[in-house]
Structure formats: C-alpha cells, structure tokens
C-alpha cells in the first residue's frame, strides 16, 4: 500500500488557534498539509472532511486557505490551476462565535485524493487519508 507513510504529515504540529478579529473571537483554525511526497493541484482533492471531538464540522463553516486565497471545500475539485506545494500548509478556518475552549481536543481529518498520474494499467489510484490527533487549542 504505497504512500500510506505520508499520512503522518496531514495534520500539522501547530496548535489549534482561536481567531480574533478586532478583539472578537470569530472562530478557530488549524493547519494541514497535502499527504504525499509531492505537490498537486487542488482539484485532486476529491473529498475533505473534519471532525472536532467526534462531531463533523459543517462544510458551510469552513474556509480552506492556500496561496493567499480562500476556498469553499466544494470549490476544490474545480481548482485545477491552483497548486498545493507539499511543504505549504493550508489553513482550515472554522467560523464559530467565541471560538473553542482552550485545552485538548480530538481532531480528525479525512481526505480522499487522487494520485493524478494514471496507474500503470490505466486506472487512477484514489487514496484515503484518515488521521486523528489530539491537539491543544489556544
């Protein structure tokens, strides 16, 4: 099962951070990286979901921030000219009034992604990266 070792980089080491705008806490954010040895265009991300403390975070609350832009998760499959370098973290911003409680939280990231080169006999390899880590919110 090629590529599975790269799932270790999916969730970045950084803490979960509450995000303040002009003194108002509007949500929280954390960072993820593309779980591979190489970069790809964002359109190779077929599905991306997050759970905090076991609860699915609604996609409608999420902004995917990369290369100085914000994307809806539903826009990723269309982004075939937006490159995700393997060492550049994407910031996942979640709108939530008041942010989240400081301290430990369980964060799950599930990404279904397509290796964009064809397999040797014609089919694309689609990988599931499913990682849960305990993170500290600050």
């Amino acid at each position: 099962m090629d590529f599975q070792a790269y799932n270790k980089i999916l969730i970045c080491k950084d803490d979960i951070k509450n995000v303040k705008v002009g003194g108002v806490t509007v949500g929280y954010q954390f960072k993820i990286k593309y779980p591979s040895y190489r970069g790809v265009f964002l359109s190779c991300v077929e599905d991306l979901r997050f759970k905090l403390d076991g609860e699915e975070i609604p996609a409608s609350k999420i902004s995917f921030k990369l290369n100085g832009k914000d994307f809806l998760l539903s826009e990723l499959p269309e982004c075939f000219k937006e490159y995700w370098f393997v060492r550049t973290p994407a910031v996942i911003f979640v709108r939530q009034d008041g942010g989240i409680a400081p301290g430990e939280h369980s964060l799950n990231v599930y990404m279904k992604h397509r290796v964009p080169y064809t397999g040797y006999f014609g089919q694309y390899l689609v990988l599931d990266s499913d990682v849960t880590e305990t993170k500290t919110a600050v």
Binding site: Q4, G39, V86, P116
Partner: protein
C-alpha cells in the same frame, strides 16, 4: 574503471524534505557531503512554484548546484492525466505540460526530462523537434509493474531507435526486476492487520508462482487477500536480464531503485549483481541514480544510511 557513475535522485530524501528536517539546500549539501555529483530533481516535489517556477527560484537553484559542485542530470516530470475532476487531460494539454517541463528544465540547466509512460507514442514523437531545438532530451521511465513486453513499449522503442534517436530515450527503473516484496512493505502489511504467519505463507505461495486464486479462496482475512492481490500483481512479471541487450542503446539514464537495505552486499528483492554485470558488459556509459523509495512505507528510516548501503553495494558490483 567503469564508465558508469552513481548519481542521486533527490527524491531519495523525501522523508527529510516533507517532514522539514532538510530543505532544498540542506538536501543538496547532504548529496555533496556524501560524495555525489549528478543529481535528479522531481520538480513536482521540490520546486515551490511548480509547474511555473519563478526566475528567482531558478537562479537560486543554479547557484546552489554550483555551490555544492553538483551536476544537473535529470528533471523529473509527470503525465498528470487526472488533474481535472471531470475528464482526463487532452492531447493538447499533455503537450502543453510536457513543453513546459522541457522549458523549465532548460532554464534550470538540466539536459534531460524524465516523463511517464502515459505520454503516448504520438505525443512522444511530436516532441522530437522541440527537444532538438532546446537541446534537451526526453525520456520515459519504465517502472514496475511495466516491463519491456508491455505492448506500448514496443512502440516507444521503435521511436527511440528511429526518428527520435539520440533525443528520445528511456529510464529503466530497477523496480522492473523486483522479484518479491521488500521488508518495509511486509512490515507495513503486518501493521495494517496481516497475521505474520499468514503473510509468510502468502510470500511463499508467491515465490512458488502459485495463482492468486489460491489466496482468494483460502483461509485469509480481507487485508491479507488485498495485500496478496497487490503482491501478485506487482512482482510476478520481472524483466529478464536478456532483455537489456535490445534496449540498452535507448537508456540515457537509470534509476537504481531500492526500498530497503540492511547491509552493503545484497538486496533480496532486486538482483543488483546481475543487473550491474549485464549493463557493464553491454557498455552502458552514464549515470545510475541512487533512488531510495522506502519512504512510501516507513518515515522512520534514515535515508542517508540507506543510500550509504546502496552506494557500497553498487561500488562492489561496479568494481567486480
């Protein structure tokens, strides 16, 4: 003395690069310190603005290669047919990406681009005038489970030996000679739920050329069956040494692929002794890249230690 030189694909340091233990310069310095000269870069891995690197990055890349006395040998590219969600790339788009890689390889000072089998014979042939104009060679990697008898390669060899002679070539990856799964693959399979004694049984069945149906209908769990299916699919048609003589004139470069070595003498999975003896006998002149690929399976392995085993093993065989 041999005319064969040992180079390095910087991809060998994937673990260190993606875990941010070494940056691009750190990897070039490491390559230099280990005594390497010729380097290959997987552009989609190490070039931050790929596929359109900035002039600043290109200038920095050239300066670093010079600083660490490294020779640019190969710019590795992909045929990413599946970039789009709605359809495969068209011919026009594949040509555009390939031309782009040839241009940026030239700008970065690399004399060769390595691409993939999916380019198609038609597009491969169409690249000839552009390769000549730029003075950059274009090669296709032959990687397992492909081998010389996969039908499309017959067409590729005809083009390489014919109108593309000297400009179009191929890069045999030694994975095509792999006969059995490596240790990291087996360890990972156990971590995913294969019972060690059952996995050993599967390896033995594979070694004895049993049919996969023996596993499919046998007393194995789902992950064991999945592993067996992959193993039987990948390692059951290794290329033969006698095939070298018909294709070596097209080999501009070679990938010394390996997955795990625990010594300087022998790899139980890839027959380096036979490979090196044969390419030497046939008079191959050029680079064989050290290409460590265990990082797909285990990020705790020290890539430098693996590369040192590989270089020792290669030197032993080159000097034999």
């Amino acid at each position: 003395m041999s005319d064969i030189k040992i180079g390095i694909s910087l991809y060998s340091f994937s673990t260190e690069f993606i875990h941010e233990k070494l940056d691009f310069e750190g990897i070039l310095k490491k390559a230099h310190d280990m005594g390497y000269q010729g380097v290959e870069i997987v552009a989609a891995q190490m070039v931050p603005e790929y596929p359109y690197p900035s002039d600043e990055w290109l200038a920095e890349c050239k300066a670093l290669l010079k600083k660490y006395e490294l020779e640019p040998v190969c710019w590795s590219a992909y045929i990413d047919m599946g970039i789009r969600s709605d359809r495969d790339l068209t011919e026009e788009e594949i040509i555009q990406f390939t031309v782009n890689d040839l241009i940026y390889a030239k700008k970065a000072g690399f004399p060769m681009v390595r691409t993939q089998h999916a380019i198609s014979p038609k597009i491969f042939r169409q690249m000839i005038p552009f390769c000549k104009e730029l003075g950059v060679k274009l090669t296709i990697e032959m990687h397992h489970p492909h081998h010389p008898e996969v039908p499309v390669w017959k067409e590729y060899f005809e083009i390489m030996k014919g109108e593309g002679k000297g400009w179009l070539g191929f890069v045999p990856d030694f994975s095509i000679f792999q006969t059995m799964p490596h240790k990291l693959y087996l360890d990972q399979a156990v971590s995913f739920g294969c019972r060690p004694e059952k996995l050993a049984e599967i390896v033995e069945l594979h070694r004895n050329h049993a049919d996969y149906s023996v596993v499919a209908n046998g007393d194995f769990n789902d992950i064991e069956k999945h592993t067996a299916e992959e193993m039987f699919g990948k390692f059951s048609a290794p290329a033969k040494m006698e095939q070298w003589k018909d294709m070596i004139d097209c080999a501009f470069y070679m990938h010394g692929k390996f997955y795990y070595l625990d010594n300087d003498d022998h790899d139980p999975c890839i027959p380096f002794e036979e490979i090196i003896a044969e390419v030497k006998r046939l008079g191959y002149k050029g680079y064989i890249a050290s290409e460590y690929e265990g990082h797909h399976f285990d990020e705790t392995i020290d890539s430098e230690e693996q590369l040192r085993h590989f270089v020792a093993l290669m030197n032993k065989n080159l000097n034999a």
